[in-house]
């Protein structure tokens, strides 16, 4: 993954995390069509960047929310856990690349 693609992925993770935080506060039963449309847009973006497992987890949440099922809560929790791990992995790769570039530039002691 290029640095630019990683940057875009991290921006998407931050946006999605913020939206999911808001869902936790407002409650899944209070979500409307606009919320679901935004989430569906994020789902598509995740698929396009190759984050298929995350896209599938978000798809499960959308389906459970659409049906008004109680399982939506578990789907939200599972999605958030995966999203956090994805963010950590992206961050790790970004920072490893940054240190490698610093070394290549002779900036390390």
């Amino acid at each position: 993954m290029s640095a630019e693609a990683r940057h875009e992925a991290l921006a998407l993770v931050l946006t999605l995390s913020t939206q999911l935080d808001a869902l936790v506060v407002r409650g899944l039963r209070a979500t409307g069509a606009e919320d679901r449309a935004r989430l569906a847009g994020h789902c598509e973006a995740l698929k396009q960047m190759g984050a298929t497992q995350l896209a599938a987890a978000l798809g499960e949440l959308l389906a459970a929310m659409g049906d008004g099922r109680r399982e939506a809560a578990q789907a939200l929790l599972a999605l958030r856990a995966r999203l956090r791990v994805f963010e950590r992995l992206l961050t790790q790769r970004a920072v490893v690349a940054e240190w490698a570039a610093a070394e290549a530039a002779g900036a390390l002691p």
């Binding site: 935080d21 039963r29 958030r80 950590r88 390390l108």
Partner: protein, 371 residues
């Protein structure tokens, strides 16, 4: 016990799911009662990490009602996630009789006794959440090799962490630093940790990684001579942090700041002014970009004291920066612990606020305002 614990964990999982479905505003009082009961039962059953996490969920819910300006949806969401994951994983470990997994999930590291430790405070971090708590984390260094009860010997220079938390109920209107003037039962005032002198602690408990220091009721802390060789105690090699990052394996239960290290930056430059953080849950803090070691870091500080940002901007690389470092949203985030010249300066603390006179004045003002 096991069947009872299983039932507790199952009910807790259901209560957390009910909270997510209903939302914070309309969470039923029954859900909140279940969470409170689960917190008490988890603490009693020695599920310490789960108990501590539930306490944070309950505090955040309380804040939503009583002090919405201090409420953080990101913080609530994280701790609801963590509580649910801990409850599910603990339930599975109990069912399988997996004691190793239970120990790991409880995150209660074994503590070992040291009869005597001589330390110095290289840095300190203050966290102040108005209406919630004041916390201080002292970054210590061992000045002499120290034998432990399990046969290990810690080398001189070994990093130790000593944390103190003062709930807001005890703080009231007092500035956080005033807490450092309070005499402790071990015969010292925390402010003495900041005088640049050797401190001898007899005895103490150590556990975790990095090693966290815990005092016993019968511990004694005594002040010794001024430390002069601070530079030999500071972390030298950023390669250690770099190697840890390369080997890092993420854990969904982990807060970003729980995977952290320390760096000493001899040459650093602030690349801009401090501005409010855009990271969810961190909006009350301020950040500035910083260049060092060929990398671009984010330097993060509390909004208060205002003198901290001014001091860091004034120094801007003229003194070495000793800082904690962690990873977050593609960045390496630094938290200042000290400016290091011949001796450490702790810029995160206001020295005018941690003397006894300030404490007495603040206590007096607090009593008068309550009348």
């Amino acid at each position: 016990m096991s069947a009872e614990a299983q039932r507790l964990l199952e009910e807790l999982g259901q209560a957390l799911e009910a909270l997510l479905l209903a939302g914070t505003t309309t969470a039923s009082s029954a859900t909140q009662r279940t969470l409170t009961a689960a917190f008490e039962a988890a603490s009693k059953a020695r599920f310490l990490r789960l108990g501590a996490t539930l306490r944070l969920v309950l505090e955040e819910l309380k804040r939503f009602d009583s002090a919405p300006e201090r409420f953080s949806g990101a913080r609530l969401a994280f701790f609801v996630d963590r509580a649910w994951l801990l409850a599910q994983a603990t339930r599975r470990a109990l069912a399988a009789g997996d004691t190793a997994a239970l120990e790991r999930l409880n995150a209660s590291p074994t503590q070992v006794r040291a009869e005597s430790l001589t330390v110095a405070t290289l840095g300190v971090q203050r966290r102040y959440v108005p209406g919630a708590f004041s916390a201080f984390e002292f970054r210590l260094r061992l000045l002499d090799a120290a034998p432990l009860a399990d046969g290990r010997v810690l080398d001189r220079g070994t990093p130790l962490v000593y944390g103190m938390v003062f709930p807001a109920t005890a703080g009231g209107q007092l500035p956080p630093e005033a807490m450092l003037a309070l005499p402790q039962k071990q015969g010292y005032r925390p402010a003495e940790l900041l005088e640049g002198k050797a401190l001898t602690i007899t005895p103490a408990l150590l556990g975790g990684s990095p090693l966290r220091l815990a005092l016993l009721p019968d511990s004694r802390v005594t002040t010794g001579v001024a430390v002069t060789d601070w530079r030999t105690l500071a972390p030298r090699d950023p390669a250690h942090w770099r190697a840890r990052v390369a080997a890092y394996r993420p854990d969904p239960l982990e807060l970003p700041i729980e995977f952290a290290d320390e760096l000493l930056l001899e040459d650093w430059t602030l690349l801009g002014d401090f501005a409010p953080s855009t990271v969810p849950g961190r909006e009350a803090e301020r950040e500035a970009p910083l260049a060092a070691l060929g990398c671009r870091f984010t330097l993060r500080i509390d909004a208060e004291p205002a003198t901290l940002a001014q001091r860091l901007q004034a120094v801007n690389g003229a003194q070495a920066l000793y800082a904690a470092v962690h990873l977050e949203y593609g960045r390496q985030v630094l938290t200042p612990l000290a400016l290091l010249g011949e001796s450490p300066e702790y810029p995160g603390l206001d020295p005018t606020k941690f003397n006894r006179t300030t404490l007495v004045r603040a206590l007096h003002a607090s009593v008068v305002s309550q009348k």
